[in-house]
Amino acid sequence: MHFTAASRWLLLLRGYALAILVTLALTLLMYPLRQQLNTTTIALLYLLPITLNTTLWGLGPGLISGLLAFLLYNYYFLKPYQTLIVHQSQDITALLIFFVVAVVISQLVGRARENLAQARASERDSTRLYELSLALGGVNHEREIGQILATHTLETFQAEYVEVHIAANGAPDAFNIQEPRGMLKPAVSPMVSMPLETTRKRLGVIYLWRNLEPLIGTEERMLRTFATQAALSLERATLAQAETKAHILEESDRLKSALLSSVSHELRTPLATIKASVTSLLAGDVDWETQARQDLLETVNEETDHLNRLVGNLLDMSRIEAGALNPVRQWNVLTEILESALQRIHRTAQDYRIETDIPDDLPLVPVDFLQIERVFVNLVSNSTKYAPVGTIIQITAQVQEPDSILVQVTNQGPPVPQEHLERIFDKFYRVTDAERVTGTGLGLSICKGIIEAHGGRIWAENLPDRFAFNFCLPITWQGKSPAAVDPETL
């Protein structure tokens, strides 16, 4: 607690006044009874105001009331009355006892008060510390830790201004947090600066400005404890981040090995075919018929296309993984994209009846031409893997809500069990036996990556007699609707 000099004087004066008043009041009470009470009892009773005054107001008022008590006792209660003549050494003893009582009590009370104040202060400190560690608990972000430290330091030390400088991960990540926010940093240099350091390294500094008296010993110790707490939290945050990173790496390692095993299998199949066909043709011992030679060459050609698609898928996937898909959006005619896709896979899809139904007045779509083309290629080629040869693969599109379109690719393949519907878009997820159907298990997850990068959604469903892939795409882009191209008259 802090008081101004004037109020402190006033308080002291009040103590003295009340001490005198209480002693006088007791005298007044006892005066009528002075015939009944013997002098020893009276002297004893005078100890009451002395004790009381010393306890309440301190040593000064206690001594005053002791002196006053002696004078009053002597004047009113010792014979001859109304005189201040000290007869016996006994009387001097009474005065001494009064003084001794005042001094002893004030000592005791002072110590008790000091103890209490100390207990309160240490309780307050531990509460503050507890609050800080509670706030810091579980926070794994440097900026947040800095913020918490700044706020708590400001409150606890009644500072004008606090700045926390954190350079946990080396200079490039360094930053400052000021509190109170929006206030200009004082022009003077900070009153205290306290490093945030662990045994291993220095992680930052707290700067504290305060207009009041400098930090006393306990406060400084407290600030040091704050700094240590924060430093430990920072270190823990760094460790937690490292752990997360390690976990991600582990996960991606696991995926990579899954990818490798899937890919090496997938690459070997076409390579084996190509190798077999080409070595057959190279071997001079057989005179291949024109037709057989042609068939072998066709096979080689198809398998190289297959390999090329596979490599394309892998590249797409690695881009999606790296978050580097960045669609290059332009307003596009969906039909044009679809036709371009169908041309790319006409060889794969030639055994199916492809039907398209896209209204002529479908608005332009703000998409990356090549990426959406890729989606169509993958969905149709996935359909050809599962639907029986000769069946219909249908592609339709329509405006669904005012600001999105719904595209549906359906095939007459077998239904997919409900529990697989969600997961078929996962990487390497294959519903059927991997040996029976070729593919890396990447096609659909690439579709998902692309559609989501466009702000759309993709899902699969079983219709009564067909299987459907659906995706919707927003047709507004940067808040704009499809650009209207004014029709031109002849």
């Binding site: 394309g312 307003w331 039909t335 036709e339 332009l364 090549l370 191209v485």
Partner: protein
């Protein structure tokens, strides 16, 4: 001195060089090869090829630089080889003066077709302008602004005609979205691909037998359009 067209191939992959040399020689071309950009530029200056096939990824200087430096002194047709994942590179190479591009891996008929187009174009450029372009069932009279399909006139709007005329004037060549937009609509429309998309789909409806499987107005995804004279 041989009259066979002379082709300079610049690519750092020895397998590709070997295959192209074998195939092109068999197709009666004279072939010179270089595996580095600087070497290619030097060979271009000393051997004066009729056509350059240029890979974009070279070990010393990149293909764009080779393109630009060749264009400083030569109009030799340049066909760029690129990979699927780099549409931006194709556009950039075309902007740097390349005449065409081909995506690796490519079929040899495709390469030969591109070579034929580029060589023909190189021969035509200095000569007079054709005023009537015939492409399969289409006939485009540039002077009289008349287009016929199977002999019947097709009515086109002014912009449709300008677009068709620009494409048909460069048969077999890929024209970037930007170059078409600036040529047909004006330089300020260079970013408005939607105009191009809409007009192309209108033209396809009017001119193609099956607008869904166009034979003349071909999309080059991510790059531009190409006019094909059809089989």
């Amino acid at each position: 001195m041989s009259t066979e067209p002379h082709i300079l191939v610049i690519d750092d992959e020895p397998q590709i060089l070997r295959a192209l040399r074998t195939i092109l020689t068999a197709k009666k071309f004279r072939v010179t090869t270089a595996s580095r950009g600087e070497e290619g530029l030097a060979l271009a200056a000393t051997t004066l090829p009729d056509l350059v096939i240029l890979d974009l990824g070279l070990p010393d200087i990149d293909g764009f630089t080779v393109c630009a430096r060749l264009r400083e002194w030569s109009n030799v047709p340049i066909i760029v080889l690129s990979v699927r994942e780099s549409e931006g590179d194709k556009v950039r190479a075309l902007d740097q003066g390349a005449d065409d591009y081909l995506v690796k891996p490519f079929g040899i008929e495709e390469l030969l077709a591109r070579i034929r187009v580029a060589l023909r174009h190189a021969v035509q450029t200095p000569g007079g302008q054709e005023t009537i372009i015939k492409a399969g069932d289409l006939s485009i009279d540039l002077a009289r602004h008349i287009v016929t399909r199977d002999g019947a006139e097709v009515k086109l709007t002014v912009t449709e005609f300008k677009l068709l005329a620009y494409l048909a004037h460069n048969p077999g060549r890929v024209l970037t979205h930007q170059s078409i937009l600036s040529k047909v609509w004006g330089i300020e429309y260079i970013g408005d691909v939607e105009y191009l998309r809409v007009y192309i789909s209108q033209l396809r409806k009017k001119l193609e037998q099956d607008s869904r499987h166009p034979r003349h107005l071909l999309s080059e995804p991510g790059v531009g359009y190409r006019f094909s004279e059809g089989e």
